[in-house]
Amino acid sequence: MAAAALCAGVVAGCGDAPVGLPGGAAAGDPAGSGGGPPAGPLDAFACDPGLVAPELPLRRLSHTQYEHAVRDLVGVLVPSERDVILAEIDGALVTVPPDTRTGPDAKLGAMRRLDQTIYQETVDGAYAVGKAVGEAIVATDARLEAAAGLCATDGDAGNDAACVDDFIRRFGAHALRRPVTDEDVAYYRDVVGGSLERGDWVDVVTELLSAPWLLYFVELGEGDPALGPVPLGPYELASRLSFHFWQTLPDAELLAAAESGALLDDAGYQAQVERLYADPRTLDALGELAGDWLMPQDLPDLAMNVGTPAFDAFRGELTPSHELRGDMLDELGEMVAYYAHDTESGFDAFFASDRSFARSAELAAIYGVPRWDGGEPPQFAEPQRAGLLGRAALTASGLATTRPILKGVFARKALLCDRIEPPPADAMMVAAEAEAQSPAASARQRAEAISEARADCAACHQQTINPLGFVTESFDGLGRFREMETVYAPSSGEALAEVPVDSAAVPRVVAGDARPASDTATLARYMLESGKPQACFARHYFRFTFGRQEQDEADGCTLEEMYRGLLEGQSFGSVLRVLALRPEFRRRTIEP
């Protein structure tokens, strides 16, 4: 569904709360004291194998997973007309609401998979989609024959019952993602009246596409739940794996592994994890992961301000298109895919990358590199751009100026998982005065003036937020590298001043680290040395995998294994696969 999202997010602000370290430790913790970075990896998580975290009950498919499942089920019914039918049912599909990005912070690092709300429109929409699909397949004899066989149109009443039963068994196995039992067949066939009508087929399809086994991960497990967590059944495992890595239904090979029992064997299971992960279909999930984790809260349509005096003066010959924003965001997904999937590099290589993954000529031109065609990615012309925070998606504002404060908030929250208190009640009331005093000030100077105007803002901004943003000031509001910053009058576009960019700051990734940085490459190095991005990513990926927020103690073993793997240089992809191999992924607790 194409959502015309209008809103960006809320304002993060200042406060003087200590900055949390991975694992919940606070600034002032010995790990960060003494004026230097931690001597070694932080003890971010503690593993107590005896603890079992409460699991998400009856998890529902995400909107993306549901849409993909419908797409593939329509493909099962009428392979040759899948896309035609999908277009026909679009009016129903659009009524299924998209998921809301959800998480400890509503805007930064929040993920759609964490939205487990059962909306009324989800229920209504699934029913409408089921009915629409049913009506689409009975629209022509050819479709009905493709879906149910010639018996559906042959005029022979004698085979009607068998025809319906066979359809329920075959299609139901895909829709319900498990073998269809005799009880199921009896249940779903019960809508059929005395004579088989086309409407009966609609009803059967509607029921199957509204079934709980389709819309939810129904996981009953095997074994005695009173004795503790129970292993998932083979078809339940197949669903977990398939929807996690591919965002859709299990394929025939995975179902065969479930049927044969191979999926219950460690070697067989691991082989399927490796196979699924290596498949290009995994890229869709990796794209969603990157998109949710790294979505900045304030990246607008970059063409939004074309035609306004200051922005036109600032952009010069570059006229950004409406597609540029998407290109920038896509690059983040391409990065994750390249390092975690295509090359099996380490997390460090991803986080400190000096390569461009710009697929579009427009973005590549901003980077001053050739367009990436999927082969060896070109190296940035400016070494200062290396590191995740040098990407255009994370530096651009779409304005004639930059937003160092918001960039700092993003880095602190989304990449380091630090907590920032909200601003005081009247925090922004100093802006006008600060701007009036220095209308020709640079973005950094304005941010400093605003932050320093009030003592209750200054501490947090100076120590925690602003420096991380200042280090990225070598990139302008369109993500272009710069050494000089021109300040424009908003209403006329007149150049008021040209000042050298000052990107030097003490980012204090951890408390007490007084080392300066002036480029994103150095900042990435400091961050990686701290272990905080690794611990933070472990949290994000945990949430993406399990659809819930982690519990530091009860989920400590899972988080610790991921964190250690990232820290010790295991391949990024292997760490992503680790979660699927953990016992927590393959079992569930059934509490009374």
Binding site: A2, L6, V11, P57, A92, A106, T117, E207, P423
Partner: protein, 517 residues
């Protein structure tokens, strides 16, 4: 397929048999107690009332810019220990422009005496604690995920009335039409029994998605509508619910789904009467609308058209439309970029900028556009639908509210512009001022070099929300919890509650004064 019957029982017989069984099962399950028929008044309430919430982020418009002149306040009375004032709205016309105030102005062909006679302009309502930014506070939920204000989510009043049998006698197709970007409406996971987490209510992301959900085309000639199979789907979930291998929390989730299926079944079982309608404009067809005033206006008009259609067909009676966002200058062609920092958070203060860059002027212009192009457009649409005794507008309460008061981030003196009398429940054509001019707010808003207007206490937003619920037909016993009126009653040490008199706080359960018809 053939015309010959197979051995399966006839469709009708099969369905009837199921319904008997399912009915017994439903009544036997505790979770479905809330689905039993609710007591409703013997006679349907007439007229049918509607509620529309239009919400604008920020605020920061001074009283002199938004409100009619103080001189129009010709009546006064003592209420809750303070003076409250009222006067008639007086429309000034200059050339082709008609005005109630600098912001509330439009072409004289749009802002007509008839519409003005159906409006109210209200000031002096405050959220008595710091809110900063919020999305749901317009309708009573000030919690924001990730911003630790210390609140818990609570349902918004659109949902409170949407699930009240006092408001809906029958199940509508959509209880509350939450449009566009969401975050305006919150409710329990299980509204029937008010259990589960409170979270955002899904929004219709496009006008077409909303249309698909509220419009039922009239049956064509010869069509024999096929009975829905929601009952069968519902029974399928019951089938699973009986599994001994589900956890208690699994069952709670299934129960939530079952409640929604029951809601769907009721909706599909209701007959609606709609004239044939052309599909409305599709907001998705507009492409990016940010910073494009004409497109943004059109975007909301597409939604308004569907809302009016739903009201006319009576497939829904509530709409929630959050008009603006934090970052976009959606209703003003801002030349400089950075609307959020440079305009929205500086409006209201004495500007150090040249007139062409005055934040207040630009923000006021954006509000004027919302008033002239959207608020009045919706009013005209609703006033064109005759319902015998009055129009849909007459039977509605349209409330346009702002996120903050006269200074952004500050929740004192939040304006409310209304239209419609809610079926004759309230007076209209009035300018109402609930500020206590003897009680200045001390910790913010003192007149300083950059703050041109003083702030006073007044009546609370909780009382406003309760008033809306009451005029929509709800009894306070249906919604009051933890305090009078509706909304969070947060008691911080530095809470603004302390700056309100005990009499004002005690009066929060009342209908706002001078408003009752």
């Amino acid at each position: 397929m053939s015309g010959q019957g197979r051995q399966a029982p006839p469709r009708g017989a099969s369905r009837r048999r199921f319904l008997r069984g399912a009915g017994g099962l439903l009544l036997a399950l505790p979770f479905l107690e809330g689905l039993e028929p609710r007591p409703v008044s013997a006679e349907p309430k007439a007229p049918r009332k509607r509620f529309v919430s239009l919400a604008t982020q920020h605020g920061g418009s001074l009283g002199k810019d938004l409100h009619p002149p103080q001189a129009s306040l010709t009546e006064a009375k003592i209420y809750a220990g303070q003076q409250v004032r009222r006067g008639d709205l007086s429309l000034g016309v200059s050339g082709e422009t008609a005005s109630l105030s600098p912001i509330l102005s439009a072409g004289a062909n749009k802002l007509t005496p008839t519409l003005v006679s159906k409006m109210n302009v209200i000031r002096g309502l405050s959220v008595p604690f710091y809110t900063g930014h919020h999305r749901g506070g317009h309708l009573g939920n000030w919690d924001i995920d990730g911003d630790p204000h210390g609140f818990e989510h609570i349902p918004t009043i659109d949902q409170v009335m949407a699930w009240s049998p006092s408001f809906y006698e029958t199940t509508p197709l959509v209880r509350s039409m939450v449009c566009a970007n969401g975050y305006g409406s919150f409710n329990w996971q299980n509204p029937v029994d008010r259990t589960g987490p409170v979270s955002t209510v899904a929004a219709f992301a496009s006008s077409m998605a909303l249309f698909q959900s509220i419009y039922v085309p009239p049956p064509g000639e010869g069509d024999a509508p096929r009975a829905p199979v929601v009952d069968r789907v519902l029974a399928d979930y019951q089938r699973l619910r009986g599994s001994a291998r589900l956890s208690g929390k699994d069952r709670e989730r299934l129960d939530a789904h079952l409640q929604k299926l029951a809601e769907l079944e009721q909706k599909l079982g209701t007959v609606y009467s709609c004239e044939p309608a052309d599909p409305p404009g599709d907001t998705n067809s507009l492409g990016p609308v940010a910073n494009d005033v004409a497109k943004t206006v059109q975007y909301w008009k597409f939604f308004f058209d569907v809302v009016a259609m739903a009201f006319a067909c009576d497939t829904s009676r509530i709409a929630v439309l959050p008009l603006t966002c934090l970052y976009d200058p959606s209703f003003y062609a801002y030349p400089g970029g950075g609307w959020h920092e440079s305009v929205a958070h500086q409006a209201g203060f004495i500007s150090p900028h040249p007139p062409e860059e005055d934040p207040s002027g630009m923000q006021n212009a954006s509000y004027r556009t919302q008033f002239a192009e959207l608020f009045l457009y919706l009013l005209r649409k609703l006033d064109e639908i005759d319902e015998g005794e009055g129009t849909v507008l007459d039977n509605s309460l349209v409330a346009w509210t702002f996120e903050a008061g006269i200074y952004t981030h500050d929740s004192w003196d939040i304006p409310v512009i209304t239209a419609g009398s809610a079926g004759g429940e309230i007076v209209t054509g009035k300018h109402l001022d609930y500020r206590d001019m003897d009680n200045r707010v001390g910790n913010a808003g003192d007149v300083e070099s950059d703050r041109p207007e003083r702030i006073y206490t007044g009546l609370t937003w909780q009382q406003y929300l309760g008033t809306v619920l009451q005029v929509m037909g709800l009894d306070p016993g249906e919604y009051e919890s933890g305090g009078k009126g509706y909304g969070q009653h947060h008691q911080q040490a530095d809470s603004g509650f302390e700056q309100h008199s005990a009499q004002v706080l005690a009066a929060q359960g009342d209908l706002l004064p001078l408003l009752k018809a």
